[in-house]
Structure formats: structure tokens, C-alpha cells
Symmetry: C2
Subunit: 605 residues, 2 copies
């Protein structure tokens, strides 16, 4: 009989789960046993180096030869280990960096915003009023305002429309009023005790994400996502504007489509959380300037041609009714300020989310999407620009591209003459999502399959066809969920080159404008759906990010959505949004003399 | 040859017209020669006494025997004369009291409000802004707000929706902005130089009157009137409420009908004035509490049953869009405060119009309509009540009743065994409007055709049939435009009795509550469409008004409409509306123990 195996507990942060395992189990297996998904492209051989975790405390086995090979001295000194190699010896605490979590796992983490002081615009107050009598003929509104006492201001017409029936719905003459704290105005009325909810929406050119939040606690009750239904009218912002400019009807159709999509997400979220949309009293929607304008019914013609000026850059305080979105009667709608024609309210939300709490320093912020916004913060100043990076990293314009759905290759690793892949939900591979595309190019470069100009090495066994229409086999038909080879083509490489060159050229010009060297950067923050899932080392290898130590890069997920949620929950955040937007020095790239030059340089790997 | 006839000029006030006549002409003929219509029921015989005018200055003939018979000593001493008897001798100035003008003539005078200091909520400012360049990327809104300078606040979303195209509509980048003076907010944008217009509406249970006004000058550009299209759903307020309570759809239908009717009046007024409805940036609508609630989409169930409380009595500052009325994008809508369930915003408008400018004193104010509001002002206090007087004086529920249209008998006089009548526009008589109904009852009483209990004297030659279904012939078929006898029945007398008893009982209870005797009244102000046209002596004879000297009664026309216009043009008036509404001590008649008693007394003539 072998010696008795002792048991140990493994606490995983920031997901907050605990596994009970026998000593000797790997951290990867421990995580898996409690449903925590850590990236593992090579299948636990230690060759892909993607499963980096940080030991916080507790007894573990020494670094293996594999780890000493994959990790540098600083990493090892800082407690960084590979989860597939890390043997648990006693009770331990392990921190999993965002980059080592699978897409699904990271999504679950979104919405946590521990730094936030919940201080929403609206609060719910329960009241009980005296019913009228022949000797007390005050109006319904009069008795509610009197019950609210000093500081009460007016009752909005939407609330008035509900009030008489709400008061008489129960014998108690009780109700809850949603009060705007700064004005004292009553926005809407609800049954006594009913929770006030808020809706935060990131309205992207390609994707829409919605978060249903309890205003008093800040708790996220549900989240939902969908593709932007405007896509058939143009994949990027400029095509969408061209469509809108055909006529009032077309522009209005785009507005209706966006509102309908948001409304559908409300339905879905409310069903998930078991609440009513009539409880949603406040809403924050962020989007780029074109999405923002189309949503609000603002003209976009002037956004579509030089010098690309917005109708307004001010924050808008509206009602959801103003855009045709039916939530609680009288529900408020806040849209943060925009910065310029191509740096919108979504980027302001990203700034609010990522730079407000952090210590100061020289920081680069990239929100990677169909349009990529780049900001540089240094010495209290902020420079921002926008680059048309295209939808390659959203899976579009890539032959095997797809959105981040089950079966999408989210990570790839070249080993022993073939690509190993990890798919979302471990389903048979059917295509490539953004982070997979980036990995494939990075690994292709490392393996010599892709050359510095982007050409495929026709001599490589995985490459078929000539250079122009050449293709590299990633997954042979036998292993693919599609029953056809999954390939990556020369044209796909070109798409990635154009995208990364645009982002990199913008970054370089911003650094030049501010007089900041790459080495001066204390932090690079990568936001956006793709930015969340990309592998930092791949991004640096491809040249999307400047050459720097990976641990200086922070992945913050859908910071626009998180920023929208913060703006929903915090009056201070709304004040900060105005200040941040005002502080930005906008750098227009389209008229910048050096842009073409930097772009051409950045095309190369 | 006779002596040479000298010529003379006759200036008529307040209509402001001048006639040139030969000496010896009567004032009546002089007026007629320049289209000024003075009431004349007896055809200039001097027997009806309705054509009272006041000589201001100039040489005229001495009072005739007829005048010495019809006018009392005080009247003659005060320069009161009968226009049909007054011979012009030289250049004279003559003042025509409202009571001596025909309906059509009085209508033309409405809208004059010389006491008013024009100080509207919104002003128009013309701006010229610099177009954007690659080096000036400010938003459209940003450059407009900068051009407006300090004090500029925000640009409303409706204005923003117009702004980019408005700026680019001309090469000058010029425009006019409508600015809310208290907030600095831009409400809407127009072409440079275009006049800002306002709309004042009196939304009555039976009739709707609209006034189109130039905001900068206060000038009334057009007026239009229509029947309230809600009438088929109930002639009075309670029936209208009952209909609305059938369901959301019915209540909504009433709102839509009222808005549609107002919108049609806008079309008509704008066509008359040659302007666009998109120039209308501010709107004031007054109506009784039920009309007000239905228009705003507020529930009315609680208005329809005791204790009849409104949803709100506060003034409402909305947009016309909030009620579905399309004027200028972003156009403001103001509804004055209400007082109680049956004393509405229209009565507040009447108070604003009639008591703000006048010297203080003890004053009784009646706004006669389907519902009659009565206010008593004494020693800085205001008491108000409401009585359900019914639509008799609007011509409804009267066998030959009709609205005040051409051919309606507006005045009647009994002489030599028959009724003499005056019709609107001197058309062949076809029916009776309110003032004619009142005259017929008053003259019937004087002639002994109607007894003190309301019975018709069956012995009188004009009376046919028994008492119960008896009828008095006013105009025989041969003289009538209808080719049938125009009659007045016992049932018609009953309707008038019920109406005048309700009004009189309310008046008496208000006087009792305030401890004011009829003799203490410095002034009785009669407002409302019917109140404008009624003959004061008839009203006193019938008992609608308390017994007092006719010269203490002032007829102010559609004071609700004029008050709405004043509220449109004056910020001070809006502030006063709030103060007046707050000051009112409401007296509820339906639960008042003495009401039934006073009502029964007032039924008698």
C-alpha cells in the first residue's frame, strides 16, 4: 500500500472558487475540477506556455525544467508558474491573470467592479400617503410631494401618468418613487419595495453588450450580447454612414434596428433575472460617435466627410423614450460625452473605467475594435486618436473567421510540425475568432511559415498552393468540426497586417506627439472584446503592441461596457467623464503628414 | 336749396375705426358705414335699448325722449347714449362697450392686450458661426454654444437633430436659435431671421379656440376655433370621464382627438398667417382639469368619483411632443396649474387675465361654460368653486339651440306682441345661441309669457300647447331661415332654470363663505364665450347674476384664451399663475350642506 495521500485546498482568485484535491494534483487539474477554465493549447505538455498563474501563498512543488525553459528569471521570482506543471503540496492560493482564463471564464468575471462606490443618479424611496377625503382634496401629486418633504421638486409627466392608479392599486396607498437625487424630481413610480434597476449598454459597430444592474447594490443581475443588426447596411462605420445618408428613412431604420436590438437584450436579461423591464429607471449607452448619433437620431452626414465633425460632443441627458426605447415610464438615458468624430462616448467610458482608479503614470490605452481608439496618458495630459483597423480581429474578412462562439479556435500553438488549437467550450474546431487569428500569425512567424513581408513559406509542409492564393492548414479535415481543412491564407495574413499596421501607426504617432518613448510606458492597457482574449505575447510578436515586457500589459476586458456600468452607478464617474473628455487632446490621423509613412513601416512584421 | 351740410368725423373705440359722415347722421349709421357692428334688436327704433355707447368728446344732439326713457339719470350723466338716437353734429369720439358690439365684432377685438409687457420664455437669436476646418474640429453644437457666449447652457436633442443640416443649408453658416431665457438652453433652430411664434389654446369642453402669436411683438397673427371633437363621447365633463374610464384605448382616443383638433387649428392659423408650424416654438394650453388631464394622458378615474382629486395641480412644463403635437422640434408646452378637480387651469388663466392688472377691490368673477367656475376676490383672499351649469348656454339641450354661427339669434327683444331678433351676420334666423336664449327668457319674463316658476302663459297669443309641452313662437316660419317656426319650449325654460340656478347657488355660497354682501361687490366680471355675448340686463333679470347695477358688470370675452396668450407672452404671468392658484381657497359645493337649499331657491325667477 502506498503512503496515505494528504488533501489540500486550492483557492483561485479572482474567480473566487476553491478546490479540494489530493496533494500532487496540478493546479490545472485542480482548476478544472471546480470548473475554472485555464488556457491550455498544448494539452498540458508545458510547451505552449499559456497557462501562466501566480502563486500567492502555500506549499507547492519546485519549478520543473519545462517551467524554467518557458518562464524568465523575473517571472519565476515573481511567483509566476505554469498551471500544468505546478504541483499542489498543501493549502494554496493561486491568482489567475485574465490572459490565462478562457473567453467564457473571463466573461463571467466581467461586471465585477470592486473599486466602485455605488452612488447612482436615482434612488428609490418608499412612501405611504393618506388617501383623500372630502376635507383633504390635495391632488395625488401634492400628497406624494408632501410625503417626500423638503427638497422634493416636481413629478415628471410620465410618473404622473402612473401615479393615480399606482396609489389606488393597494389599500395601503403605498408606493415607491424613483427620485433624481440632484434635482429631487420624481422620475417614475413603482410598487413599494420594488428594486430600481439600471441598464448599461455598449453599442459597438459589430457587437452589442447589455448589463442589467441593481442600482442600490451595483450588483449585475444579468448580461446579454448580440450582433449589431445594422451590419447588413455596412460592416464598418463609414459604410453605415453612407447608408444613412441615402435618406431620412434609411437613417431612421438604423436607429430603429439598434433600439430594437437593445430592447431584445432587455427582454433576455429581464427574463434571466426574473424582473420586469418597467423596473429599469436609468440607462447608460456608450458607442462610437457614429453609433451614438444614429441611436439618438442625430444626422451623420457631417461625420462621413472631412473634417468629420460630430453634431455634438456633449453628454446627453435624455429619456429612453427620446430614442423609442420603452423601459420604466420616464426612465432616464445618459450618453457620455464624445471626443471627436471617430473617438466616441465608448472611449470616454473606457477612460472612466481604466484610468480613474489607477495610480498615475505614463500609460497607453488601446480599445481594439473595428475602429481602434488609442489614448496616451502622461503628466496629466491625454492624447487620443482613432484608426480604422477593420473587422479582421472580430473574425470578419478572414477566410475561416468567425465570432467567439463554441468551436471557435481562441488559441493556437505550433509544435512538432503542426498547430495545436484550443476552442471555446472545447468543441471540435470550426473556425478562428480574433485571438486565434492573432495566435496563428504569431506562431506562423515563429515557425517560419509566415515571412517578414507576410508571404507564406511554400516549402513548408502545411502550406499548399502558390504565394498569392496560398494557404496554411491549421486543422486537417479529419479533426475539424467542419469536416474540411481549416486554413489560414495569404489574404488573411494581409488583413491582419493592415489591421495591426493601422493600430501600430496610431500608437507610434501618439507617442511621437507626446514625446514619449516606448520604454517610458508604465502600463499598456488593452480593452475591447478582442483585446480581452488576445495573447499578449502574440500581440507583441505580430507587432500589434510595441515591444515591451508582457507584464506591463493589462487586459481589462470590455472596458466600454464596464465603464457604462460605472457611469450608471456613480455620479462621480459622470462628472469625471466630462472632465476626461474635455482634457483630451485629439490627434487627427487622416490629415497627419507622417501617418502614411508610419503605416507603411508597420505593415512589415 | 337746403343749407349746405357740414361733414364730421366719428372715431370709434376700442375698435379704432373712423367714419366720415354728414352732420345729422346717427352714430349707429356712422358705425355701420365703416363696418362696425353695434347690437340693434329693434331695428333702430330705440325700444330695445341695446345700442348703448359712451360719448367721449365732440358735438352731438341732445338726448331724445326715447333715450330719456331707456337710460337712467346716472347713465345720461356719464355720457351713455343710444347709438340709434345719437345725432352727430361735429367731430366726435365714441366708445362702444363690449356689450353693445355684435359677436363677430367682439371676436375681432379679442387678442388685444395693451396692458401686457411682452416678455416671452423664449427669444430668437441670430448667429453666424465659422465652418469647421482640419484645424477647427469643434462639434456643430460646440461652435453654436461658443457663438452664444457665456450663459449658454445646453442644446436640446430636438435642436441637435436639426442643427447639422441647418448650419449647412446656406454658405453663410448662419441660423436662428430659440433660447430659453431662464436656462440658456437652445430649444430649436430655425433659418436666420425667421420669426418665433407661439400658440395659445383654450381647450373647452365644448369649444376650442387657438391663437397664433408672434412672440417678439405679442401680435396675434391668426385665430381659429372649432368644436371639441370629443363631444360625441359625452357632452359634459363627467360623461367624458366615464367614457375614458372604459379603458386605456378610449382614454387615449380622447387625447388623440383633442390633439388632432388643436393641430387642425394650427394648420388653419398658419395658412391664414402665411407661416409654418415649424416656427411655433412655445405653446400654452388651458382647459378644465378633466380636459387638461385627458390632453396630457393623465388618468381621470379619480376625477370622476368623490372626492374628485386631480392627479396634479402643479403647472406642467413639457414639450408639445409629450402630447403628440408636432410643432417646431423641441417646442415647449406649458400648462398652468389647476386648482381642484373642477376648477382647472383655464380658470387660473382667467384669473391671470382679469385680476392681475386691475385695481384691488371686492370682485366676483364668473367663467360661464358647460361647467361654470366662480371666484370671489376680497381683501387679498380668493375663494373659488365650480358648478355644473350644463351646456344650455352653449346652445345644447335647447330645442332650437345652436352654436354662435351665422343665422343664430344672438339678441331678442319683445315689442308689440312679437319677438324682434338680431342674428349673427344678419342672416335669416335659424336657431338660438346662448345670448339669444338668455334674452328670450328675460324678455319672456318681462312680457309675462314666462311665469316665476318657469311655466309658459298658455293664454298668450305666441304660446301654443299645454304647459308641459308648451312652446312660444319666436320667429314664424315665414321669417325663419329654416322655413319652420323657431320656438322656445317649457323644457327649454327648465334647462335655463337649472343652469342659472347652479351658477347662482355657487355665487351665493361663495359670498356667504367670504361674508360678502352683493352690495359690497365693486365689480362682477363675466368671462367665457357665452359671458362675452350675453346681455347683462337679461342676465340680471333672469337671475343668473345677482341684482346690481349693470355698470358694475364687466364682460371680458374669452378670458381663458386671452389668459393663455398672456401666459405665452409673459414670464411674470406664469409666476403669477402659480401664486394665484396657491392663494385660492377652494369651496367644494357637492358636499356643502347648504348647496341643495340655495339651488332650490335659485330655480325660481
Amino acid at each position: 500500500m502506498g503512503r496515505r495521500q494528504s488533501s489540500a485546498s486550492v483557492t483561485f482568485e479572482p474567480v473566487g472558487r476553491r478546490a479540494h484535491v489530493t496533494a500532487g494534483t496540478t493546479a490545472m487539474a485542480a482548476a478544472s475540477s471546480v470548473g475554472v477554465q485555464i488556457v491550455s493549447v498544448c494539452g498540458g505538455q508545458g510547451s505552449c506556455g499559456r497557462c501562466r498563474v501566480r502563486l500567492v501563498s502555500g506549499a507547492v512543488g519546485k519549478p520543473t525544467a519545462v517551467e524554467r525553459d518557458q518562464l524568465d528569471r523575473d517571472e519565476l521570482a515573481g511567483g509566476i508558474r505554469l498551471a500544468c506543471q505546478l504541483a499542489i503540496r498543501g493549502d494554496v492560493a493561486i491568482d489567475i491573470p485574465a490572459g490565462s482564463l478562457t473567453a467564457a471564464q473571463r466573461l463571467q468575471l466581467e461586471g465585477e467592479d470592486r473599486a466602485l462606490k455605488v452612488d447612482p443618479i436615482l434612488i428609490g424611496l418608499d412612501l405611504q400617503v393618506e388617501p383623500p377625503t372630502p376635507h383633504d382634496l390635495r391632488s395625488d401629486a401634492g400628497r406624494v410631494l408632501e410625503a417626500l418633504g423638503r427638497g422634493a421638486s416636481t413629478i415628471g409627466v410620465d410618473a404622473l401618468r402612473q401615479l393615480p392608479e399606482r396609489l389606488r392599486a393597494t389599500d395601503e396607498w403605498s408606493l415607491r418613487v424613483a427620485v433624481q437625487r440632484e434635482t429631487g424630481d420624481v422620475i417614475t413610480v413603482l410598487p413599494a419595495g420594488m428594486a430600481l434597476l439600471g441598464l448599461a449598454v455598449d453599442l459597438g459597430t459589430t457587437k452589442i453588450a447589455a448589463y442589467l444592474v441593481e442600482l442600490s447594490s451595483g450588483r449585475t443581475l444579468a448580461r446579454a450580447g448580440a450582433m449589431n443588426p445594422q451590419i447588413p447596411h455596412g460592416e464598418d462605420v463609414l459604410n453605415r454612414i453612407t447608408y444613412a445618408n441615402r435618406g431620412e428613412q434609411e437613417r431612421h431604420a438604423l436607429q430603429i434596428e439598434a433600439v430594437k436590438a437593445i430592447s431584445d437584450l432587455v427582454d433576455q436579461s429581464c427574463a434571466d433575472a426574473g424582473v420586469s423591464r418597467k423596473q429599469i429607471v436609468d440607462c447608460v449607452i456608450v458607442g462610437n460617435t457614429a453609433m451614438h448619433h444614429l441611436l439618438c437620431g442625430l444626422p451623420v452626414r457631417q461625420l462621413g466627410s472631412a473634417p468629420y465633425v460630430p453634431a455634438t460632443t456633449d453628454a446627453l441627458s435624455l429619456t429612453t423614450d427620446d430614442i423609442g426605447l420603452a423601459l420604466a415610464p420616464g426612465a432616464r438615458l445618459y450618453l457620455p460625452p464624445c471626443i471627436a468624430g471617430y473617438v466616441g462616448a465608448d472611449h470616454v467610458a473606457v477612460l472612466v473605467q481604466t484610468v480613474l482608479d489607477s495610480a498615475s503614470g505614463t500609460r497607453l490605452l488601446l480599445d481594439v475594435g473595428t475602429n481602434t481608439e488609442v489614448s496616451l496618458l502622461s503628466d496629466g495630459r491625454i492624447w487620443s486618436c482613432s484608426t480604422a483597423s477593420g473587422p479582421a480581429f472580430e473574425g470578419a474578412h478572414i477566410s475561416a473567421g468567425m465570432r467567439a462562439a463554441p468551436g471557435a479556435i481562441e488559441h493556437a500553438h505550433y509544435l512538432d510540425g503542426a498547430f495545436r488549437v484550443q476552442t471555446i467550450d472545447d468543441q471540435p474546431p470550426i473556425g478562428l475568432c480574433g485571438s486565434g487569428i492573432l495566435d496563428v500569425v504569431a506562431e506562423g512567424l515563429r515557425a517560419g511559415i509566415i515571412g517578414p513581408f507576410g508571404a507564406l513559406a511554400s516549402s513548408h509542409p502545411l502550406v499548399r498552393g502558390n504565394n498569392g492564393d496560398g494557404a496554411c492548414v491549421l486543422v486537417p479535415a479529419a479533426d475539424a468540426g467542419t469536416h474540411a481543412d481549416i486554413v489560414f491564407t495569404r489574404a488573411d495574413v494581409s488583413e491582419v497586417q493592415l489591421a495591426k499596421a493601422a493600430i501600430r501607426a496610431g500608437t507610434e504617432l501618439l507617442l511621437e506627439t507626446a514625446g514619449v518613448a516606448t520604454g517610458d510606458l508604465d502600463e499598456v492597457i488593452v480593452a475591447g472584446a478582442f483585446g480581452t482574449y488576445l495573447d499578449i505575447r502574440s500581440a507583441i510578436r505580430v507587432g500589434l503592441l510595441p515591444m515591451l515586457e508582457p507584464d506591463r500589459v493589462r487586459q481589462v476586458g470590455n472596458a466600454a461596457g464596464a465603464g457604462a456600468r460605472r457611469l450608471l452607478l456613480s455620479r462621480a464617474a459622470r462628472a469625471a467623464a466630462r472632465e476626461l473628455a474635455d482634457a483630451v487632446e485629439y490627434v487627427e490621423l487622416t490629415t497627419h503628414t507622417a501617418f502614411a509613412d508610419r503605416f507603411a513601416q508597420a505593415i512589415l512584421f
